[in-house]
Symmetry: C2
Subunit: 182 residues, 2 copies
DNA sequence: ACTACTTATTCAACGGATTGCGCAGCAATA
DNA sequence: TATTGCTGCGCAATCCGTTGAATAAGTAGT
């Protein structure tokens, strides 16, 4: 229910087009909430219908025209109202973990292979988050404290995941050795 | 796309009714995938239409009748096929984190209040997970290794979250002091 | 010259998920 | 006695999200 609110948060700082927002969802906010461009354009349409945002048409040459959206008073009110009431706990839907839970059916080797792939992804994310956090830290992080804290969340999350992956590896290896030695 | 597979994983070990499954989704598997009873009954219906599961009707007295589902050959094949192909990365949708990212609008006190509420929840979960993991460990965890590893994932996740919460608290307190001393 | 990518928006179809409701009887508690 | 809670199943409306595609013009690379 709160793609709308994520959008309103982004529009808080600056006027932006749907395309701009889509890029931010692929980066910064994507850490915390993700959405495709189709969803974003749709939601912007609804927000506009409800007068939470308004836009102006910007003709461009060389590039297609765009619509620059900005948040309205109503939008800001709605956002503040939403911020005040407690957030619903995130619903967890992790397909890879379902595989682990049902792991007795797979063979260890295929689990380990996928684990490594996922670990590569996580490690990559970890590095980009760390680089961004470091940059913020050098600029004095108080200015963008909340961006910094969001990044920290991402960093700790990846680290915990990678740590877990190590546990899985050692557990599966130990098991492999036991079963082959019998 | 894989509520169905989570259900098949559960039906792997034992015959179960929709109600039983709903309870497991609230506990064990819920750690990793959650679903309401409506979704589960609906999905069981579809799985039955596709011959992935079959059921027998159990009349009960004192309690309403129930349908005990079990997995079929086709169901097991489908599950194995699914296990073989790589899982899509989970999409992140954390409303509370959206609030943090847009935290500049809220006052620190309301953020801290909600942070504490969430932390209570996480701490509670941590304890139940730890208790379950300990129990499994004592029974020799190799039998239920994958359940154990799933629990470990939950434990590390809660710990990382709580650690992050501490960071947020100290950061916001420091900031509070700075702003009030000026 | 051809391919691929970037900027920019939108539509249509489908499937997944949520919300809300309804039925039904038993057990326990206030 | 009234209310709440547990066991058990299901339907319908709506909303949210995904997939796939179309359009259009510029730029960068092989």
């Amino acid at each position: 229910m709160s793609l709308r609110h994520a959008i309103l948060v982004l529009l808080q700082d600056q006027e932006a087009s749907g395309y701009d927002l889509a890029r931010e969802f692929a980066n910064s906010i994507g850490l915390v909430w993700n959405a495709t461009h189709q969803q974003i354009y749709l939601e912007l349409g609804k927000l506009n219908d409800q007068n939470m945002v308004k836009f102006r048409h910007i003709p461009q040459d060389g590039k297609p025209d765009k619509k620059l959206y900005r948040i309205t008073e109503e939008g800001r009110d709605e956002l503040i109202r939403w911020l005040r009431k407690p957030a619903a706990p995130p619903r967890i839907r992790d397909a890879f973990m379902v595989k682990i839970a049902g792991g007795a059916l797979s063979d260890s080797s295929s689990i380990l292979r996928e684990l490594d792939d996922q670990a590569d992804l996580r490690r990559e994310r970890l590095h980009t988050f760390e680089a961004l956090a470091k940059k913020l830290d050098e600029q004095g992080r108080d200015k963008d404290l909340f961006t910094y804290l969001t990044l920290r969340r991402g960093i700790l999350d990846q680290q915990a995941w990678l740590h877990w992956a190590d546990e899985v590896k050692t557990a599966l290896n130990k098991r492999e050795i036991l079963s082959t030695s019998v």
